[in-house]
Every structure is written in C-alpha cells, then in structure tokens.
Symmetry: C3
Subunit: 389 residues, 3 copies
C-alpha cells in the first residue's frame, strides 16, 4: 500500500470542515471496534483477522482474549501461516523461533538463538481487548501506562451496555469502504430501497418512501465522558407517502391506520467510530446496533446486532427464539441485504476520493453532513498506512 497520497490532499482541503473524515479511509485510530462474538473464540483458540489494515491474532488464555499483530518482528512473516504455540500464552514463529508472550507482546525467547540480546528487549505490537454483551472489542491504537485506552462505553451507542440488555447478531464482510456503510445506514432517505421488505409480514408499521428532517430533528452528542454521535429524531420528520412523476402517482408508501409515526423506526443515531443505533427496530421493543468496521480501504466487517431488554430467563429464551426465526432471516439477512449491495455499487464512485467532491447531496442529507463533521471533530486519530509498518 503506497503511503504517498493515500488520500487525495486536494479533496481533503476542498471539503472544508469534514476533511478528517475524507482522510479516514482506513478508519479512526484509538477507538474500540467489535470483531467477533465471544463464543467464536474458545479457550485456547487462536483466530486471525484484519481490522483497519492491521492483521491480528486473537487468542483466549484463561478466559481472557488478547490481540497481537500477526507479523514476526524478524522477517515480517505471518505467524499464523503455521501457528506454533509451545506454551499456553506464547506464540513462536515457525521460521526462526522468535517467541512472543501473547499478553504483552514481549519477545521472551528466540529458540534458534537463545542468547540473543534482543530477547526481553523487543515487543511485538499488542492491542487492548474487552468483551461486553458477548462481543469481543479490540482497541486499535497506542496505549501505555500513562495513556490507557478510554472506556469501551465511550465508543458504543447509549443503551448497548445497559443491564438486562441482551445482544444477538451476526457479521459478514462487505466490499465497500466502511464510510459508505455508515452513510447508507444513517441516511433517512434510503428507506426507498426497502420498499419490498418482508419485515412487513412480521410487524405493523408505517413505511413512507422518504422522510425529511424538520428543524430540531438533528442533534449532536459530544459530552467528553461519553460516546460522540449524531441523533436524527424521526418524530420531527416530514414523511413522503406518494411518489409522483409527471403528475402521475407511481409509487406509494405503506401507511397503517393502526400505528402513528413517520417511519418504521423511532430514530437513528450514528456514533464514533462508525456504529449505528436504530431505535424501535426491527420491532418496537428492539434496538438494532450495527458497526461498519474497516478491514482495509475497500472492505468492512458489517457487524450487525439486535438488543432487547430481557430481565428474565424466559424473556431471554423468547428473544433468542424470535431472533433465529424472525429478526435474523427477515431483518439482518433480508432487510439489510439491499443495504449491502447498495454500498458495494457505491464504492467505485468514492474509491479515488473524487466522489466526495462530485456527489450532489440533497436537503435531507444534512444529517450525513452532520455526521461527517462530528466524526472529523471528535475522532481520536486517523488510521494511516504508516501505522501498519
């Protein structure tokens, strides 16, 4: 990956107050990102994956998950090509025996050169890991004793960590930059592509073909001790129920006499480092939380979850059953499938950065602009190719 002109500097300058967002092609550094569900990494198991351009090994040791860079310090080979774990908490490079402590990254031995002066004096980069709500989060950034990672609670939407909230979900890879995921999700207008969703059979709701924020609908949250995001309140939206061309009504939204509201959800909100919360969706008692986690400049992990307050074991069981039979197939798989191909076909326009200049936004897209500005203003750093060396 060329480091020079990784992002077109003319475009960064031209967009003004959201240049940082344009620069963040690889995502924002010094933030927490979900990567797998806890149950996907069993005791003693090691898995590899790529986040923000970093190739990582995750290993669970005595219950806790640790993450280190999957690249030997010596000759740069992937440790995972032939994973040698001679002890529970070390990984030894298959090539020359460089051996690292998983928890700290310390080079504890070189099996083929046991008296090397490098031993005990070098570290492979490690990354903080936390688990919450059955999800494994990794902090892609630089920490030390003086600069610990900020709390996970600052990087997830409000409510996600609440007591009694049960989280279920899935993840998959999407072939677009992560920002096209975030903007697709937060975009109030894109409801237009969901006209034929099978969710209709599982819930009574209003489904206009579009809706536009009225004054006051969009608010930012920037308190220093919590998550930073933009909230778009659908109760302050003006819905569009009919689409007309040349005086002829060509498409109608679905409007139910049984419920009020301008949309199928109550509100959406988009949070750093790139996570969407959709209130009362896919059904009134549920909340969808979904992350767009950069893999590299052209791909992201679409980490989809649904949360529900389930104080009792019976409610938990019931939610788990509904998730498997309704919300996963008709929501995360069915409804969101259209979002995925939409992001993928948007990718070529933005791939060389010129799309940020050439796009022609319309009035309701102010919510997206607000998100770009907040992200540029409140992020803790921009991930760059030089961070991967």
């Amino acid at each position: 990956m060329s480091e020079e002109h990784f992002v077109n500097p003319d475009v960064v300058k031209a967009v003004g107050d959201w240049g940082g967002y344009v620069e963040a092609k690889l995502g924002f550094r010094n933030h927490w990102y979900p990567v797998r569900f806890s149950k996907e990494i069993e005791e003693g198991q090691a898995i590899t994956l790529q986040v923000l351009g970093e190739k990582l090994i995750f290993k669970r040791i005595d219950g806790k998950v640790f993450a280190m860079r999957d690249r030997c310090l010596h000759r740069g080979v992937p440790l995972s090509r032939k994973l040698d774990c001679y002890t529970k908490d070390t990984i030894t490079c298959w090539y020359h025996g460089y051996t690292y402590r998983v928890q700290t990254g310390e080079l504890v031995n070189i099996l083929a050169v046991p008296d090397s002066r490098l031993i005990g004096r070098r570290k492979i980069q490690t990354f903080p890991v936390e688990e919450a709500k059955g999800v494994v989060f990794v902090f892609i950034g630089d920490v030390d004793e003086d600069n610990p990672a900020p709390p996970l609670a600052h990087d997830v939407p409000p409510g996600f960590l609440d007591d009694d909230v049960m989280i279920l979900g899935k993840h998959r890879e999407v072939a677009s930059n992560w920002r096209l995921g975030a903007e697709n999700g937060f975009d109030a207008l894109h409801i237009f592509i969901h006209k034929d969703t099978t969710l209709r059979h599982h819930r009574v709701f209003n489904f206009p073909i579009g809706h536009t924020p009225l004054p006051g609908a969009v608010q930012t949250v920037e308190a220093p001790d919590g998550p930073k995001g933009v909230i778009d309140d659908f109760s302050l939206h003006k819905p569009v129920w009919e689409g007309e061309i040349d005086g002829e009504i060509v498409v109608r939204g679905a409007r139910s006499g049984q419920v009020s509201g301008t949309s199928a959800a109550m509100q959406t909100s988009c949070w750093l480092p790139g996570v969407l919360k959709v209130d009362s969706f896919p059904a009134p008692s549920l909340t969808q939380f979904e992350w767009y986690v950069p893999i590299d400049a052209d791909n992201h992990i679409y980490f989809q979850t649904i949360g529900k307050t389930t104080p009792t074991a019976e409610e938990k069981l019931s939610f788990a059953n509904d998730f498997e039979t309704i919300w996963k197939p008709h929501g995360l798989d069915g409804f969101n499938a259209d979002d995925i191909w939409a992001r993928e076909v948007t990718q070529p326009f933005y791939q060389d950065d010129t799309g940020w200049l050439d796009e022609m936004l319309c009035e309701p897209d102010v919510t997206i602009l607000e998100w770009r500005r907040l992200a540029s203003r409140c992020n803790r750093g921009i991930q760059l190719p030089e961070h991967l060396r």
Copy 2:
C-alpha cells in the same frame, strides 16, 4: 483511473506532429461512434455499455434511441444496477428516487424528497444518438443549442450512407487499445498474416505477401464539410510475390491469371474517429466498413460491417443470404480472427506509451504515420479521464 499522467507527457512531446494521437488513449471526443445494431435495442428496452470510458444507458422511446450517463448525480451509483422505469421516458434511481427525463437528462423529481430545490435545476449528462443503415451511433461530446453535434456524415467513410447501400455486420470486444485495431486494419503489410485465409475458396483474387505504396498512393481527405481520412490506393502499390531468406524462396503469395490487381482489395482508407473502409472486399462488389470504438484504455468494440449496393428486394435477400453463409463466417469471423489476436498481443508493447517511441517502423508504414498525423490534426478533441467525472 488516475488523472495524473494518464499518458506519458514525454512520449507525447517526443513523437512530434502526432502527439495528439498518443494522447487519445481513450479516443477522440466530439465524434460519432457506432455501438449496436438498431435491432438490438427494441422499443422500451434499455441497455448499458461503455464507450470512451463513459458508462451509458441507451433506451428506445417511441422509436427513437436516447443515451444518458449510467451514474446517478446524487451518490454516483449505476442506475442500471436495478433499473426503475416508472414511466416510459424517465429513469428513477433505485437508491433515493432521483428521477431523470431520458431525452434531456433533466432531474424531474426526487421521489423521496419531492420538494427539493434541485428538481428541475440539475441535469445528468446525455449524449446525442442517431441511427443510420440499421446502426445506432452515439456522439461522445458536449453539445448545446449553440453547438450542436456535427452531421453523422462527417464521421463515417464516404459511401456508407449512400442510398441503396445495405449494411450487415456484427460486433465484439477486443482486448487492445482502439488504435492498435485501426493500425492493424490500415496496415498494408499485415496481409502477411492472412496467408491461409479460407476466403480463397470463395473468390478468385491476388494475394501477395506484401505490397508497398509507390509515390502518389497515399492521399489525405480533409475537406471541412465531410469525413477526414487517409486513402491508400493499392493500384499504386508494388506487390511482393515471393519471400526469400538466404537466397531461398520460403513463402509465395497467391497470384491468379484470371484477375489483375496488387491485392485482394482495391484500396483501404482510415477515417476519423477510427473507422476503416476496404474497397472491393471481401469480394469485388462489397465494401467492408469497420470501426474500432474505445471502451477504455485497454479494450475496444470491433464493429464490423459489410456494405453492398442492393437496389431491389431480391438483391437484398441474396446479400443477406450470402452474408450469413459466406462473408460472416469466412470474412468477419475467419479472416478477421487473425487480426484480433494480432492486436491483443501488440497491446503490452504500447500499454505504457513507450511503444510509440520504441517501435521500428519500415518504409510502407508511412501510411500509418499519415493516419496518425491526420488524426492528430483533424480530431475535434481528446477524451480524457476528467471528462468522466
């Protein structure tokens, strides 16, 4: 596609009076290009294809074909990914309902934002289309009321549009830059690769292994009110009938006592924006017209046609029959198959522009140089990556 150094500027400068031809890697702008046969676009049908780097939608409405850019103004997505045509002459973007009048490109509505101020004030780019001789031509360039497209007759070889001329043909994609197509076709020497053509079984002709233009053979046509091209008259060529190596004859051309002439054709001519006319070929009463239409820098549409003067219905039927049974299989498919692979294996040498400097032309290649100069002198513009934004 990077806009910087799309073509090596040192090469453009070094070649002198045909630098414009070197620059025209994507073809010449403000010219007419054939793309499909009329019968391939039926009433109401929309097709997509790429010409000179432009991705286009062609749609036939009330008998007439129109062309517009296949990229929504809003977020740059291809409209064709899921074509929504709610009315006969509009295309609505599947993503947010941006709706365009096909004939004019006007943004007539945004279904999800019906009160947007953009409506009626923005246009997607459209391109003039004409049909002649059963072929759909598109004008890739900029036109307005003050600057209409020039007549199609200025961009096709003489004779193509004549009354009573019937045109039949086919098209296919070739993996080389369009200029290697034009030069392969216009090159009098390349007859060398057609030594074994099966056309021999369908016609008595002379087929030397090469022939060189004598003084006066090559003439340019540059009148302002007609097509611009270079004509190479084979009756003023010196044929080569035998190939000799170290005093030994190793290959012989085919010479018939029944006919005169230095070649199987009477003359060839190459015209802007990249179309060849071969007189008396593949048989004395026929004329081959073939276009090399840029798709992108590395591919072209090879649009092959044969014309014949057929005043009566009986003659039309007879030509149609001969075309299907003889001229298409033995001419356009068989004879020209060798031309196609020749262009494709020439491509790597010219791909980074250095081939234009490193080639070692011989004397008869003056006809090709004449074509390069005329094309540089008479074209109406050069298609550049910036035209695609």
Copy 3:
C-alpha cells in the same frame, strides 16, 4: 512496469553499504544464469521463458543453443505467439515478416518489404549462452567484441564445474523475489523449519534447532579471477540443541552419537549472482547447488541441483538411481518444499522495499548482511526496467 521509483530511493539510501542489493529487485545484470537443463532443448527446438524481466527465445541450432529477445523490433509483438522458422537459423515475425538470424540477431530480411533499408542494419538483442554439466546458462547483459562475457566459471560456485562432478536436478517457479530465496537458503537459522524432514530416514546426521557462527566462521571470497561469495563454516558454529520457553524445554534437535558436527551440512556459501552451495548435503558425499533466478520482481526460478563426484560409469548410474529414488523426492521436493512456502509468505513484507528497513535481524544474521554487502560490492551491474526497453 513503471520505471520511476522502481525501487524506493529512500530505502536504498537508508541501508547504507548494501543499497545496491536493495536496488537489484530484478537481479544483477552482466551475469550468467541457469535456465533449463540441456535435455529440455532438443535440436531445432525453440522454447520461451522470462529471466530478469527479459522475455527470451532459446533455440538449439546444430547442437548449440542461442538466445534472443522474444519481441519483434517493428511493433513489439512476441515472435513466439506464432513461431515462423522458415530456415534452420532464422525466426520470422508472423506479423510482417521481419526475419532475424538467431545466432546474431541481425535483421536479414523483411519478407513483406524485401527492399527495406532496415535490412542488414538492425539487430534484435541476443544473449550469450553456454552449456555446462548439462545445464543451459544465459548471460543477461551487454557484450560486444571489445567486451565479451566473463567466463561462466566466475559465476558458479567452486566445484560445480569440476571434472567427474555429475549434476542432476530440477527447476520450478516460486512466487517471491529472488533475494528471499537466496536469504532463505543461506540463513543458518532457518534449519528451525526443517525439524520434521523425512531426510532423517535416509541418513544419520545431527540436526540442531539452530546454530550461531563464532568468530572466523564467515569469510568472503573476492578474488578477481573467480566467483565472488560468502562462506559460512558450520564447524565454527555453536549449535543449539534444545529450545526453552519459561524454563520448560519445548523442542529438541536431533543429536546422533554416531557422527560429529554441528549440522546436517558442513558449510554453506552464497555466490553471485544468486546461487547457494551446501557442502555435504543432502548427504556427506553430495553437494547441493541451487540458483534463485529472477523472473520478474515477484517471482524466481528455483533451479535446484545436486552434484556428486562420479569417476566411473557405474558410479554415475548409481547416483542417477539414488537421485530419482531418494534425493529428489526427500531433498529437492520434500525438504525444500518448506523453504518455498517460507519465501512466498515473506514476499509481502519486502514487496514495497520497506521490509529492508523494518526487519529486525538477530546476531547470526550477520551472514546474511555479509552476503548483501558482498553482492552490492562485487556485482557487475543492476538490472533495471530501462534495460527491458
């Protein structure tokens, strides 16, 4: 292939006294390289292959092999696309009949233009070829009457050309830069990856998990009238027999009471232009000679041979039998298979040149640094993209 910044100039400067080695991404120019075994090019046969970025045709004429560039001077097409050999020692381009004398490269005729002034005045580039020990070597460089190619003996390891030495082997393509091949082979530590070799069943030897050179082990050979290389004497190495992590022995080398020595081989040596000699390997009476011949920046021919002194016909037969049944399957195929994938997974780290800066070598890697310095100091030139024009 872009000529600008083919290698990162900052990296070349930063590495100091082995910058030339970093520059030699395409190998060293003006050296001899093995490409095929003699038996693979039969009388009259022509084969094509790529070496140091050069696409070449090799043809055997009256017993002697010649090599010329596989690209017609005229329009740059590969002659090999449809090889026309009308006489024993000429190759005629299929496109326009440019005809070259294979031995000299002289343009002896243009069949389609027999009176061209170019004839007899132009040459296609040819390259000296020599055969020794049943191997075809080509000299990639510039020679003329005043500057003939240096002797082959200066570019092969000592012993290879000795009388009574019989050479057998194989070759294959490996998807890494040639230098990662050379460094993998010369690296005394990489024995760590061969822990499970099946060679154990065919020979009694010591097999530590690593061994470190003591003072005096590494010597360079730079006499002007012979090959230039670095020798690493394993009798002056300190072996490592056990690998320990956190006080626990986790892996043990194989130590035999029957033989002495610190390794399975006696010594290794690495020679310009990129060839390794392993003494007493894969068995005491044998010597492995293996070349890493650049194909392009990302691939090399792994040319593997084993030599044995076989004065009698009986000994030759016996060696040939052992080669096929033991040394080829368990040595060249089995043992070296691990080396091949090791090189291939190392490639991404060095592909953009930054690996040369970012690697973290340990003490025994001084042998590799010595090789890089010798190669930078003693090579006869660096192959660059401009040599391929």
